[in-house]
Symmetry: C2
Subunit: 468 residues, 2 copies
């Protein structure tokens, strides 16, 4: 009897174990993509750094993140990326650029801003910029940005609808604004014409997963008050972001004070332009009152260290902006004389070093802070922090994998220091945007480099000739 | 008769043509290496930029340089490098580093200089630095520097004789100084012991084609006056260079003024240390009198923008130094908290941008000037301008080839701008030092990357544990 009972119990036990195993297998969820192994730098609320971590992606969303062994128990997958010995980071966010200007890369440097704009940039644009130009320029920019780990960027240029088509085709995420200026530009004779174009543009891309159409009044010194207000009204009608240059140079501040007895920030606020939908590039000449106002209005700011140094615009008070809670991202600005590349890895290094030297304090801005600016705080500046900027369950699966198999990458004592001060754009190996692998082993999948580079050289020749 | 004469003349003519061809073929010189095609940026006296240029190398010397068609007519060659569509530059010169500190890369950043040195660097060195450490550190440094286009570097560290052996094995050119300090260091208990070591070191490497042994008193704040003078005397006995840190931080200036009522530069001059054999790193805190003195004494200075920014040391008056004729080169400084890499391409970009922003003048220092600092002026700072620094007949064949087949490299409007502001270390494809190809297609030939990287990781673990 005892033995019989034991047999029955044993049988039951086996039955349960079998059932359990079957249940576990049945319970195993399916992921479209599993990224496994490697040091996961999450940039989440806890700034978690996970050794031998993993991420499960379903559709364009991060379904789970955690220790590799846990994730592998929970998920099967269609596609796998092995990141052992590498770093996994959220995709970098370039908060301010003029992407098609890649075709005018380094057109003229080492001259004053006035000479640069009046003698080179504006004439070159007037003579060369058309829809095809921006398409090839955007392709070249996307190619360079993806290779440097950028997954989202904010852009201000012309023919932005064509830019949007190109960006969408590359798989990148873009916040794209058609530039509004009071004078004629390559694709528009007046602000009215630009607004008509922009409204169609906003309607067309509404609800797109990758493209966020925006309104981009250039600045207070190139747009009338009416243009600025109309731009804000149009953006708000569609719930679209507003992209604008703010307090970039001293002259802008001086003129605003002379004309309005107010700083550029205060003036924009008095026009009711500032709000939680504004992305303000530069914010160099902002005093304590301006910074408070930017925080109160929940404006996103974008710091562009290369550009500010190259054009000698000034040093943005980044630690002070961060201290009062302003959302501060990082940008490259355009690559035509104000950078001259689209390399956020370099921009992080510069951002930290520029603050240290200008404040004569090596603790002024550290590696972790600038990585925040290039990821989660960049997302916050774009008011997209619920969607992107960190590796967290429920967010878009925008991530990059960096190799540590390079002379400049060993040894590693601190992961943040290594990323910011030692690793390079060329160390980015793999890029995933919205769950889609857009670069693998440094090969950009959605773009034909062998077509883009010769075309860029062709444009270079044409532009050179046009300026003779 | 007329016809007979014609036949004879014709025969003679043919005979002459044949003789001429034979003579030409016989006259064709033999080169060990021909680098052909590409845009040749010579950095010679005329700052020649030659499209479709070529260089013929015999032994370790540039035998000829000119248009490709001319050079190809004059030379046959054992080995050829096709540089069509690429840039050919003189090898870059890193005027100041502590190469073996690659193994302490980014050991601790974002802290004050005192905390960094006292809590991290000195303890880490005391516990870990031995001959094997410097060997592996030097290999890692050489690997990184060659991949970034550096062909010559000046170094100050310990066990420098072992460093010299390693550098020689990589094919690089090195000006290597054993650091002299008044306190015990990993390989010496006293200056006397260091001088004994150094004298053997100087004797051993005398006349070497690649290794230039130097004497390296650390600075006025770590060496007594006697140590400084003994170091200078030893160097001069052997006609060796003197490497020293000068006026790097404000504290050094303040202390020197308090103690000697003189600036560090004036004090060193009063000790008769300054001369045309001195390579002075940093020279941040140098006023107009100091600059004049540095020019008069023909001292070479090395600017280290990354390090000066990272440690918040100050902004060196580079344009002012250049204006009074001081020889100013460019350096990375060590990679352990003051950079954290050995990337001269980045250092050029930084040098220009740092001057622009600190002077609020986009014309303060341009692309051509900083390329000079990384090449011919770096050679002048090392007092080696007759040997290296430009592509000229009779100089050592130290050259690098940069690809323009990268998204960040197109289009190109100005070759200097492109090199300094857009191209990266990763765009260096081929490196030739003294006529020997040491990197081809980004593969470093004389070093085993697959051995060096794991070893560096091992050292990283040991150092980490030693600091617990």
């Amino acid at each position: 009897m005892k033995r019989g009972l034991a047999v029955i119990l044993l049988a039951l036990a086996f039955f349960d174990a079998g059932k359990l195993a079957a249940q576990t297998a049945a319970k195993k969820q399916h992921a479209d993509l599993l990224v496994t192994g490697g040091t996961l730098v999450a940039m989440d609320g806890d700034r978690r750094v996970l050794e031998d971590g993993a991420i499960a992606v379903q559709g364009d969303i991060i379904a789970a993140i955690g220790p590799r062994t846990d994730i592998e128990k929970q998920f099967t997958a269609t596609q796998r990326l092995d990141a052992r010995g590498k770093l996994i980071l959220p995709g970098l966010i370039n908060g301010h650029t003029h992407a098609p200007m890649t075709l005018l890369r380094a057109l003229k440097d080492d001259v004053t801003l006035d000479v640069w704009l009046q003698k080179y940039i504006f004439p070159a644009e007037a003579k060369n910029v058309n829809e095809n130009f921006v398409r090839w320029g955007a392709r070249l920019a996307a190619l360079e940005m993806i290779r440097g780990g950028t997954t989202t960027f904010a852009d201000m240029y012309y023919f932005e609808d064509a830019v949007a088509e190109e960006v969408k085709a590359t798989g990148m995420r873009g916040v794209l604004g058609e530039t509004v200026l009071d004078f004629p530009v390559p694709d528009s004779k007046s602000p009215a014409q630009t607004f008509a174009y922009t409204e169609k543009f906003l309607q067309r891309w509404k609800g797109d997963a990758l493209i966020h159409a925006a309104v981009a009044p250039h600045s207070i010194y190139t747009c009338s008050d009416k243009t600025l207000q109309d731009a804000a009204a149009l953006a708000r009608k569609y719930g679209a972001p507003i992209l604008i240059h703010v307090a970039e140079i001293k002259k802008e501040l001086d003129e605003s004070r002379a004309k309005h007895s107010m700083s550029p920030v205060a003036w924009l606020d008095s026009l009711h332009v500032l709000g939680p939908d504004v992305l303000a590039a530069h914010c160099v000449w902002v005093d304590a009152d301006d910074r408070k106002l930017l925080a109160q209005r929940d404006v996103g700011c974008v710091h562009n260290p290369s550009s500010n140094m190259m054009l000698a615009s000034g040093v943005a008070p980044v630690p002070e902006l961060r201290a009062v809670g302003v959302r501060v991202g990082l940008g490259t600005d355009g690559p035509a004389g104000s950078n001259n590349d689209l390399d956020l890895m370099e921009e992080m290094d510069l951002a930290a070093k520029l603050q240290k030297i200008s404040k004569m304090d090596p603790q002024a801005l550290g590696a972790k802070a600038v990585l925040e600016m290039a990821t989660i705080d960049g997302a916050r500046a774009l008011h997209m922090e619920k969607e992107i900027g960190s590796l967290e369950t429920g967010k878009k699966a925008d991530l990059i994998v960096l190799t540590l198999d390079a002379p400049n990458a060993v040894p590693m004592y601190d992961v943040y220091s290594q990323i910011v001060y030692a690793l390079k754009a060329s160390d980015v190996e793999t890029v995933v945007i919205g769950g889609r692998v857009v670069m693998r082993g440094r090969r950009v999948l959605m773009l034909k480099e062998e077509e883009i580079l010769p075309k860029a050289r062709e444009y270079g020749k044409k532009v050179k000739e046009s300026l003779r």
